[in-house]
């Protein structure tokens, strides 16, 4: 009897096991270090969330390989002369995952939900000053703005603006157990902290996303799992339990050499790693000292030592993939590596030098081998007479510390290796327009220049305005660009997997994946 029961239990456990690990042999398993916050695109901003939204939902526009906006769900669009009215013409025959057609009402629903008075989207500001969304006819939608906002177009190509089908309003558990979109993958289930199971959307038609496949994905299912430890992801890649994952960066050269796994690197990520300073107090209120830091930093050598060919130097305050990025233009304005000039600047500014070093704090975000990169920079700075104390911290603490440093009138100098990414030069407005993201540099002159970049609809005029801002920031060594990309940009892929690639702004695409 007991033995029988035990056997039954044993059998149950085996069956339970089969049910609990629903990985069929032909699933794509993509492992990441963390999970999404929510399936509701109006309730979070993390890259981890955005990447998954981009699989489930579609967007009005898409980006091409260079990061520029192109038609997608909206086949075409017009902007009124005064820049206040945008009319989008939707593609015909797009279906939501629940079988309802995607039309102008869904776009209207999405926009109105983002501007809900009680509970607006956490990225409401990035939509711009939209005052009305109107469904002119089933395939035409009109957005009205209170003032011109040209960053709207690139925003509509980003998954922040994912188009939600209006049936989500009645869907039970929208954001946790339900997510109705029109993207290439449909939500099967989400176990928070563990996995998101997606299945292919057979009705998907690609209107503008960066994929060769014109229709539904080739593979039946895509499982996005959370595996925080890099060595575990590597172990999973080796056994074949995982097909795609970010590997431990230290193992990448060996993997490349052995050919055991393929390495895919995201390009045009918009990620910018840069020096910035506590500008309101000595010594970094002095432009010469900031320039000395820029001139003492040998980015090429440091990157080669730490990342090999995985990352490249960046000359502009907005990185490759973002409108207005121009390496040559920026290089002419950014103070370049020149240790002798750095020594002269330091001597002139305060009599500092290798024998009488200037002591400062250098704040660095943990992870991605940035600790080791910071040590190389520390050694380079020491050579010209700056003794930098490295302080490692998580990004949340660092954001708070940078603001704190900017608001503190005294203490030793503070500089930090900051990291931001965005799809539009509007990022510079967020960072440097008064009062500034961290209460940093403020100047009426720069404010006026930044305001211009928000309203100029003509691309050439806007580019010139963006260049003015970049020249200002670079000439004064306020924002000293270092490199791009800088975090979660390296993917290891099993050798048998074909067709995996990463779209600009670190959006992995699985439409073409086969194995």
């Amino acid at each position: 009897m007991t033995a029988n029961r035990l056997r039954q239990l044993g059998l149950g456990a085996v069956l339970g096991c089969a049910a609990a690990s629903p990985l069929a042999a032909k699933d794509i398993v993509w492992a990441r270090y963390g999970d999404i916050d929510t399936l509701d695109p109006h309730r979070a901003t993390s890259t981890l969330s955005l990447q998954v939204w981009s699989l489930i939902y579609d967007t009005l526009l898409a980006t091409d390989a260079t990061g520029a906006p192109v038609p997608n769900l909206a086949e075409s669009w017009e902007v009124s002369e005064d820049g206040l009215r945008y009319t989008f013409h939707l593609a015909e025959g797009v279906m939501c995952h629940d079988g309802t057609p995607l039309d102008a009402n869904d776009v209207k629903y999405t926009v109105e939900r983002a501007f809900d008075a009680q509970n607006p989207s956490v990225t409401q500001a990035s939509w711009g000053p939209i005052t009305a969304a109107e469904a002119v006819d089933p395939l035409t939608v009109k957005l009205t703005l209170s003032s011109p906002f040209v960053a709207l177009i690139p925003f509509l190509a980003d998954s922040f603006s994912s188009i939600l089908c209006d049936t989500n309003a009645e869907a039970e558990g929208f954001g946790t157990s339900a997510a109705i979109g029109s993207g290439p993958w449909m939500l099967d289930s989400w176990t928070k902290g563990d996995r998101i199971v997606l299945s292919r959307n057979p009705a998907y038609v690609n209107h503008g996303k960066l994929a060769e496949n014109p229709g539904a994905p080739y593979m039946d299912r895509l499982v996005v799992t959370t595996v925080p430890e890099p060595q575990t992801r590597l172990a999973g890649l080796k056994t074949g339990a995982i097909q795609i994952a970010e590997p431990p960066l230290d193992d990448v050269p060996a993997l490349q050499e052995s050919g055991e796994l393929k390495i895919a690197i995201a390009e045009n990520t918009g990620q910018n790693v840069f020096w910035e300073f506590a500008l309101h107090r000595a010594p970094f209120d002095d432009q010469r000292v900031r320039e000395a830091v820029a001139r003492a930093t040998d980015v090429d050598t440091a990157l080669m030592l730490i990342y090999g060919d995985l990352s490249i130097p960046e000359q502009c305050p907005i990185s490759r993939g973002v409108f207005g990025n121009d390496q040559e233009f920026c290089a002419a304005h950014r103070a370049q590596y020149d240790p002798e000039a750095a020594k002269a600047l330091l001597a002139e500014a305060g009599g500092w030098g290798p024998d009488n070093p200037l002591e400062v704090n250098m704040l660095v975000w943990t992870g991605g081998k940035r600790d080791r990169l910071a040590e190389v920079f520390q050694a380079q700075l020491a050579e010209v007479g700056i003794k930098a104390n490295i302080q490692m911290m998580d990004i949340g603490t660092m954001n708070a510390r940078v603001r704190q440093e900017n608001e503190t009138p005294d203490g030793i100098g503070s500089m930090d290796m900051m990291t931001w990414s965005w799809y539009d030069p509007d990022i510079l407005y967020a960072l440097w327009h008064s009062p500034g993201a961290y209460r940093g540099y403020t100047s009426p002159e720069l404010d006026a220049m930044l305001e211009k970049t928000r309203v100029l609809a003509d691309p050439d005029e806007r580019k010139a305005a963006v260049e003015d801002v970049m020249a200002y920031l670079l000439d004064k060594s306020i924002h000293v660009p270092l490199y791009t990309p800088g975090w979660e940009w390296v993917f290891a892929v099993r050798p048998e997997v074909e067709g995996f690639h990463v779209a600009p702004f670190v959006y992995p695409v699985f439409n073409d994946v086969k194995f």
């Binding site: 456990a13 993390s46 902290g193 595996v227 603490t397 708070a400």
Partner: protein, 307 residues
């Protein structure tokens, strides 16, 4: 007996309250708030809008007010929603607590199954090569960090031999994390068992039992083991709570979807409702386990039962 238990229960409740207050205060001392972190690196939101979001989440209130409001909601059974993603905290915690308990219990079972006999064996062969070998192994076991042991076991059993999955959920995936957590604790259990048994073996009543000619096996099982187990059981209670904590590292290595990993993420994101909920659930679990142990303790030791 009843007054003993009710006293324990009252102390347990006080412990939970103190733990939640302490954590609420401590987490607010760490620089950075959840709204700032949520917008870090990728947002063009104005500071005024951030203030608005803080106000909507109630984060602009003084900490004391926030805590009292939290307690008020808690008494109505509402643990709040996460700041990131606005999901019910209770659901999140309850979905994951069983995973951590399963891991900790399995590890405990492994630790006891190996540690208890090993310690007992070493004690009964005191001073021989058996004793030395067991204790040497135990010292090695205590000294090996979870992190290292976990990766070694993973690369051995999952990558090289392919017997077990690398990570994930399900019974097979439980084996490696439970082994990692269990083995180092087996060493502690073995050491504790040995010293406790040796203490007892030197007692007068054992000498008497031996002197009156009881078979050695009887002396060992009825007299030595029974009294020698009492400190071991107490220690196992503490051990279990350590394992709940130690599970955090192991959960991370093996992507085991437990409550510890949730807590780490929440701390990095300063997701206050999740952190508070975690501490509440964790402290309650610890208090419940300790309470159950007190019961076992009373059952094992007639002196406590009678008092």
């Amino acid at each position: 007996m009843l007054s003993y238990l009710s006293k324990r229960l009252a102390m347990g409740l006080a412990t939970i309250l103190v733990a939640t207050v302490a954590v609420t205060l401590l987490i607010h001392l760490v620089p950075g708030d959840p709204v700032q972190i949520m917008y870090a690196q990728s947002q063009g939101t104005t500071p005024e809008q951030l203030e608005e979001i803080r106000a909507r989440l109630g984060l602009d209130q003084p900490i004391a007010v926030q805590y009292v409001q939290y307690l008020g909601r808690l008494l109505q059974g509402d643990m709040g929603v996460t700041i990131r993603g606005q999901q019910p905290v209770a659901d999140l915690l309850m979905a994951r607590l069983p995973n951590t308990l399963l891991l900790a219990f399995s590890a405990m079972a492994i630790a006891v199954a190996i540690g208890l006999p090993a310690g007992f064996w070493a004690a009964s062969r005191r001073g021989t090569w058996v004793d030395s070998a067991v204790m040497m192994t135990a010292i090695a076991g205590v000294s090996i960090p979870h992190f290292w042991l976990g990766l070694v076991l993973m690369f051995w059993f999952a990558v090289d031999l392919g017997w077990l999955p690398v990570a994930g959920g399900g019974p097979l995936a439980l084996v490696l994390p439970a082994m990692t957590l269990g083995l180092s604790n087996a060493a502690i259990v073995a050491r504790m068992t040995r010293s406790s048994m040796i203490d007892v073996m030197e007692q007068d009543f054992v000498r008497t039992a031996n002197a009156k000619g009881l078979p050695k096996a009887m002396v060992q099982s009825r007299h030595v083991l029974r009294s020698g187990l009492i400190p071991v059981v107490t220690m196992m209670g503490l051990q279990f709570t350590y394992m709940m904590g130690g599970a955090i590292v192991v959960e991370n290595i093996f992507a085991w979807n437990g409550i510890g990993r949730l807590a780490i993420e929440a701390i990095f994101q300063r997701d206050y409702p999740v952190i508070q909920g975690f501490i509440l659930v964790f402290a309650t679990t610890v208090v419940v386990v300790m309470f159950l142990l007190d019961l076992v303790y009373a059952l094992l030791d007639p002196r406590i039962r009678r008092s």
